[in-house]
């Protein structure tokens, strides 16, 4: 731990009655957790039970009515038989429910977590037990996730991402929302190398940077390839079905076939909409904060230096509106389940200035030449072509392999990052800091060899960004390979510490504005304290 001034927070915080989740002792998750986790099963059971009761009531009254009006002979036999079956069924359901509840209770009892100075530990499992400990200094991102049901109960899931292959996160599900945010503040402070004496970590102040208007989100969904394809396909199909109907074929049959596809496309668009709903970006000394989601709300914090690569993308349909989509690679994100589009999106749809602003937050130093305007450089990468802006482009021979995009394909190396420009209809720009380069590669196929071309690739952590410069001349590719390995080595040596607040002591001058994200931005280590001074601005509540 670094020798930081211990930030005392006066006892203005929550009363001592609240469990301090970060005191180093073992804690259990919230007792409502099993109910929230298995709410769908719970609903099914409730419906079944309700149906049983309902049937009994309705059946009973119906029986009397019928038998009274009908035979009038033996109403008792029928009711007894039915009642017996009902009782048996109810007993079985009750048994299953009892077993499930017992297991859920045991599973809750066995789940416990602890936060020590060095690690976050989680023990869980009834039959097969699992104990996982994650080193806090390896922390890559912290998310507070609230699915709809959890939100109703005021609960949240804390998801702590440490880099690893496959499932590499620790999920504390569920805590109260206050506990989750408190733990997050604590984890971030520990990871940053800030110490404090209280059990409650101070929440870092934050500054709102971006908020996505819902109209623009809707517009971006409508102007997406999936939507346009769906509309065109649907119209074509309707016309086809109409023609077929004119010749006597059943009208509805064509729609029955297309229904699953429509459902899938609708699902994609719906996911995009719900993920992007209410998208907000804020900057704080703890890194970039993202909040989004319609039903499931996700609040992400990505500390400084954890973004491995950035991709700006502009589909053809967005060009008129000048919109861009920004996605990032963060080690651990998207490596687990469902390759999360929700996790790795930094901006679902933003205009050029907003995209540049957020880029400057995650890649604070573009390392441009003295006197060069970084905004212009990125602008050239966004919609330029040819050698302007210092870009090295694919040679003329590349037109045989890439007849349209070859003029645009290119790269530019600055002192800090590699910018890659690609794409003719769909424009793409990849930004990879040299310090985040994992390894480098060059490939060459037989046709490329004949033309004297080669494809250069920077290997980044798993995620949506895979920076590749296709069809460079092999001379350029060779030079780039040689230069980049030297640059990456130098940048690695000069890289800031993992604990982003524990940098050189004189960098931590308090009072610096934490929220001044201009494009030619501050050094990699933010010059602001994670903990607001006692007389400083009140910590912004994170939700």
């Amino acid at each position: 731990m670094a020798e930081q001034p211990v930030t005392e927070r006066p006892a203005a915080g929550p009363p001592s009655g609240r469990p301090a989740a970060a005191d180093g002792a073992w804690h259990r998750v919230h007792p409502l957790t099993p109910a929230v986790k298995s709410w769908s099963a719970l609903v099914v059971v409730l419906v079944v039970v309700a149906q049983e009761f309902g049937r009994e009531a309705v059946g009973g009254s119906g029986d009397t009515g019928d038998s009274g009006g009908g035979s009038g002979g033996a109403p008792f036999d029928v009711r007894d038989l039915g009642g017996g079956v009902l009782a048996g069924g109810t007993a079985l359901v009750a048994l299953v429910v009892l077993l499930a509840v017992g297991f859920a209770w045991l599973s809750w009892r066995m789940t416990r977590y602890r936060l020590t100075d060095e690690a976050l530990e989680l023990h869980q499992g009834v039959l097969s037990r699992r104990q996982r400990a994650a080193r806090i200094d390896r922390l890559q991102a912290v998310d507070v996730v609230q699915p709809l049901v959890a939100r109703i109960f005021g609960l949240a899931r804390l998801s702590v991402e440490v880099a690893g292959s496959g499932d590499s996160k620790i999920e504390l599900a569920y805590l109260t929302h206050d506990q989750a945010t408190g733990l997050r503040a604590h984890l971030l402070a520990r990871a940053a190398g800030v110490t404090y004496s209280t059990t409650e970590a101070p929440e870092a102040p934050e500054h709102a940077v971006f908020e996505l208007p819902v109209q623009r989100l809707l517009g971006s969904v409508v102007l997406s390839g999936a939507f346009v394809t769906a509309v065109v396909g649907g119209l074509g199909l309707a016309v086809g079905a109409g023609v077929a109907a004119a010749f006597g074929a059943p009208f509805g049959s064509a729609f029955a076939g297309i229904f699953p596809m429509a459902l899938a496309v609708g699902g994609i668009l719906w996911t995009r909409f719900t993920n992007g709903f209410g998208f907000r970006v804020a900057s704080s000394p703890d890194g970039v904060r993202l909040r989004h989601g319609l039903l499931e709300q996700r609040s992400q914090t990505v500390p400084p230096g954890r973004v491995q690569a950035v991709r700006l993308r502009q589909p053809l349909l967005w060009r008129r509106s000048g919109w861009w989509n920004v996605r990032v690679n963060v080690a651990g994100y998207g490596a687990g389940e469902q390759q999360g589009e929700g996790e790795t999106t930094l901006l679902p749809v933003a205009d050029r200035d907003e995209a540049l602003l957020v880029l400057s937050m995650v890649v604070p130093d573009l390392g441009v030449a003295p006197g060069e305007d970084p905004r212009r450089l990125v602008g050239t990468a966004m919609d330029g072509s040819g050698p302007d802006g210092g870009f090295v482009t694919a040679p003329r021979q590349a037109r045989w392999l890439d007849p349209f995009a070859w003029r645009r394909t290119g790269y530019r190396v600055t002192d800090e990052v590699l910018l890659v420009r690609r794409g003719w209809l769909h424009r793409e720009v990849d930004v990879v800091p040299h310090a985040r380069t994992q390894s480098l590669g060059v490939r060459q196929g037989p046709v490329q060899r004949r033309l004297g071309l080669a494809t250069f690739a920077v290997h980044s952590t798993p995620g949506p960004v895979a920076p590749v410069v296709p069809h460079l001349s092999s001379v350029q590719a060779a030079a780039l390979l040689a230069e980049q390995s030297v640059r990456a080595r130098a940048a690695r040596l000069a890289a800031g510490p993992e604990r982003w607040m524990a940098g050189p002591g004189d960098d931590l001058t308090p009072g610096a504005d934490p929220a001044a994200p201009a494009v030619p931005a501050a050094p990699a280590v933010p010059a602001a304290p994670a903990a607001p001074a006692a007389d400083g601005p009140p910590p912004t509540a994170a939700s």
Partner: protein
Amino acid sequence: MSEHPGNPRAAEPFEPDGVRWSAVSPRLASARRVSGCVPLAVLGLGFAVAALVVPWSQFWLPAGLFLAAAAWTWWLAGRQAAAWAYAEQEDDLLVRSGIMFRRIVVVPYGRMQFVDVHAGPVDRLFRIARVQLHTASAASDAAIPGLAPEEAARLRDRLSSRGQSRLAGL
């Protein structure tokens, strides 16, 4: 690694300046021939026998195809094994492979997360092992097949120690 990108020798990305490549064991070719050709050849011979037993049948066609595939695999295994090479530089490991589709990967020791040494039954028969360097990126596929077991162990230890001394965060 070359520090002189202007040098005309550096024009060839697969032949960087001043790099002394180590070839992998020629036994890799044999191992790949055994695991690749033998099943194909057995199938081809089976069809050939069937074609001999049943006169005027169509079995010659698959027999010919399988035997041709076996011959091609035989030839390819030799070629690929000869093309596979690696070089331990000051700060990074270089791995080169392929003749038709060439590939070179530069992996800094400091980026190494872990090293795998793997030897299957056929590999063990031919006394070779495969060393693979893993980084945090799934794309940096730095695998060196066909090392003698003692060379594989040496390389593993050496890579681990270099990784230790040049350890970097993500």
